[in-house]
Amino acid sequence: MPTSSVESTQRPAAHLEVRDFTAGYGRIPIVSSINLDVGEGEVVAIVGPNGAGKSTLLKAIVGVIPSLGGSIRLRGDIVTNLSTDDLVRRGIGYVPQSHDVFDTLTVEENMRIGGYLLAKPEAEARMARILDTFPTLRPLIRRIAHKLSGGERKLVAIARVMMLQPSLYVLDEPTSNLSVELAHKLLTDYVRRIASTGAAVLLVEQKAKAALEVSNWAYLMVAGAISMSSPAAMLLADESIAHRFLGKVTAGSSSAPPGGTGPDSTLPEAPAV
């Protein structure tokens, strides 16, 4: 499938540039020849069916798995194959799809570790501010993380990453397990707000419609390759594309909700948050 892109739309200066990038597990490539940009202050969504390689791509970008070829630039500096901790020190904040909190530690400890690179008073101040943003976390602060509900876990994971105020958020399905309202709020409110402070967001989402609504740009990923790159609004508007790539065609693997029905119908029951 040839990559179709819309050249007319002007994009901001690139914060993250991924070029001709290949990655996988062991020596077997799962994603290959990936070209992808995230501009300053942009929210960029990657959507695609289960198993397309979205998580694999994110893991390789943040250095959890080694790359097999190609390059990554962060604000112009080549950062290909830097280790995760180096990338974090350069301003990337990553929330994995699973294993996203320190299971054996409390919520408070999770957040403190999130602020590991900060001086203590600074960390305390940010923690207080983040708890104001997510008041639902306050009563849970002494709870061991593996005793949290799925939605609470995700919030802790996001809160932890916010501690360092990264300049690029890499979020792998941040709304999975969140209640409808919270998912909506997270995407429309927090994600947009993060972007408005000048930070960039790279987002993988199953709730394609909701994600596209808050994104500036979108990439459609199918079978390990980017098969479409366009403004998010355009992908959202194109019923047939949304239908084909996010719905019926890949019905074999339980897939994202089709564009037409909206996200709500397939959301899990709201956890108590």
């Binding site: 289960n50 198993g51 799809q97 699973s98 799925g150 339980s254």
Partner: protein, 345 residues
């Protein structure tokens, strides 16, 4: 050949046979079924004690200088068969303690502890098997048929050990090439898939443990009836490690590889150098052997973890299709389980 040399050779051959039997038993547990059986030497010990006290006459013999249970002076081959039965039976409690769903390294440690407890009990409960001194003067089976011709008897025992090895090989071959063997390997390679195929994974583990245990006990019985003595110092837990080293060096889950490993590791230096003159302080040669075994293991695990003779992949020339299907099934199950796990997170 001088008769001294013949004694040397026959003794070595019998030790080799005993170690091969034991290593096959351990290989069935470790190589085929993937159980890190650090208590293996306990099976050998159980076999040796059982055969010993059944072959010995009553405690009061020889002035009653040793204490042990049993003492029925049972004729050959009953002590050997009983030893095998005991080896298989004690596998059950040992397996139930150690083989429940623990991490593989926990299992190893739990079994190590079992080995040490067993040895400590045998040492301290002197009424059982004469404590630290161990049992001795175990009669040689059928020795009266040879009318005191010790050399001929040595050769006879070599032949007997070889015959037992042959039978054991046929049994091991039969087991590993049966559906049961396949289930063992499936369990070793992927426990989740195996538990989907054969529901009772604990039963499968216990079975592997019992068959291997019977072989280990057999080796102990043959050894004790030959050397006539058996004491706790003969089965300290590092002995298991020697057999493990033989298996890893020779080739895990390859019966022939195990033979090669035994000839190299325990026979090559542990037994072989018993006949060397002592140099330096007492224990120096021993220490050197252990260092060499440790180094050899590290070297093999690094450069050739599959061993000298690797596990054969195409072992079913005539029904190879069946295995592929099974492997595919296991792979498919693995993938779908991973998918289910991921989506349930």
């Amino acid at each position: 050949m001088s008769s001294a040399f013949q004694f040397y050779v026959t003794t070595l051959l019998i030790y080799a046979g005993v170690d091969i039997l034991a290593a096959w038993g351990l290989n069935l547990q470790f190589g085929t079924a993937g159980l890190l059986s650090f208590a293996f030497i306990v099976f050998q010990a159980a076999g040796a004690y059982t055969a010993g006290v059944l072959a010995l006459g009553p405690q009061t013999d020889n002035g009653g200088y040793q204490h042990y249970i049993g003492g029925y002076a049972l004729p050959f081959p009953i002590p050997i068969l009983a030893a095998m039965a005991v080896g298989a039976v004690i596998a059950v409690p040992i397996g139930l303690i150690a083989l429940r769903r623990l991490r593989s390294d926990y299992q190893a440690v739990a079994l190590l502890v079992v080995s040490i407890i067993a040895s400590s009990i045998a040492t301290n409960e002197t009424e059982l098997f004469n404590g630290a001194a161990g049992i001795s003067l175990v009669p040689h089976p059928l020795a009266d048929q040879f009318g005191g011709d010790l050399l001929t008897y040595q050769w006879f025992y070599v032949g007997f050990t070889a015959a037992v090895c042959l039978v054991a090989y046929l049994i091991v071959h039969r087991v590993t090439h049966s559906p049961l063997g396949r289930a063992f390997r499936a369990m070793r390679d992927n426990e989740q898939a195996a538990s989907a195929l054969a529901k009772d994974i604990t039963g499968l583990r216990l079975l592997a443990f019992a068959i291997g245990g019977a072989l280990g006990a057999l080796s102990g019985a043959i050894l004790v009836l030959f050397i006539g003595t058996w004491a706790p110092s003969a089965w300290l837990y590092p002995e298991t490690f020697v057999l493990l080293a033989a298996i890893i060096v020779g080739g895990t889950n390859n019966s022939l590889g195990t033979v090669v490993g035994v000839l190299l590791v325990p026979i090559g230096f542990a037994e072989g150098s018993r006949f060397l003159p002592e140099i330096g302080h007492p224990g120096l040669i021993d220490a050197g052997q252990w260092i060499a075994i440790g180094l050899m293991l590290l070297i093999f695990l690094w450069f050739r973890p599959q061993g000298i003779l690797p596990e054969r992949k195409h072992r079913y020339a005539n029904d190879g299709r069946l295995v592929t299907v099974l492997d595919e099934l296991a792979g498919w199950l693995r993938r779908s389980l991973a998918l289910i796990q991921r989506s349930s997170r």
